[in-house]
Subunit: 152 residues, 2 copies
């Protein structure tokens, strides 16, 4: 069942399964997109303020996106993203950490310009094995309204 | 020459070279991290509100990170990131677009807890071939202060 704009309410929470971050993935992603010593070089990372190799923040966001899209947006009529806000890296993500995502609906607003669209703001929280939040952000998205004549 | 915290001032702007986004890269990144139809399926993308294939917003952020880290942070004593704010996707990024980054220093604040660190807030703007901003965000980072006894 596809959830349309009308089916989402503030307080709704969607939870994903876990994904274990592997060391070689951390290094490979960072070599492509964020080649700072503490992301790509184990010895240099030991001497960094993190005391060891950590994932690029954008890698963590990308993994959160993977979980969110594969396990949540597959059942939401998501039309696209508008932006993000209040993105905080609460804790470093290290090799072997298993991450999962909680996606909470914060606000829903019908579009005034496009009768077939609404805007949905979520808080996306990325948690580790011990349920500590490692990353949080707000994201604003565009969601299709239920087509006329279509009932639940 | 490494730029330390003391060498960065509000108004400083660093500009990177350009990077041309290829269609297969858009699809490959999105298949891994953001497998929504308008990022991975050309036919479905035609029918989306974007009218064609567009890059995942996180892919655009990752490419901006690549340019920023390779061409700017290589000469700044960057110790890590703290978070981001006010991230806006102004325009879709499409295959063949050539992106470059402007990184502007907005604010610098010495750390009260760590005498060897300061916090630097930047605005990161991603621009296309025609100098239109496609993505903008603020990022807060940790930068090393100039070691004692070391002069410019």
């Amino acid at each position: 069942m596809t959830r349309y704009f009308e089916d989402l309410e503030p307080g709704d929470v969607f939870e994903t399964s876990g994904y274990t971050v592997k060391k070689n993935e951390i290094i490979e992603f960072a070599e492509q997109f964020d080649p700072q010593p503490f992301h790509v070089d184990e010895a240099a990372a030991e001497d960094s303020i993190f005391g060891g190799l950590i994932a690029s923040g954008i890698h963590t966001m990308a993994l959160a996106s993977k979980l969110t899209v594969e396990e949540t947006f597959d059942m939401i009529a998501n039309l696209g993203g508008r932006g993000m806000d209040d993105l905080q890296f609460h804790q470093p993500v290290r090799p072997g950490d298993t991450l999962h995502v909680e996606l909470e609906v914060l606000e829903t607003t019908p579009s005034e310009r496009h009768s077939e669209r609404g805007y949905v703001t979520y808080e996306q929280r990325v948690l580790d094995d011990s349920d500590a939040v490692v990353l949080s952000l707000r994201m604003e998205t565009i969601v299709r309204r239920r087509p006329e004549g279509q009932t639940e």
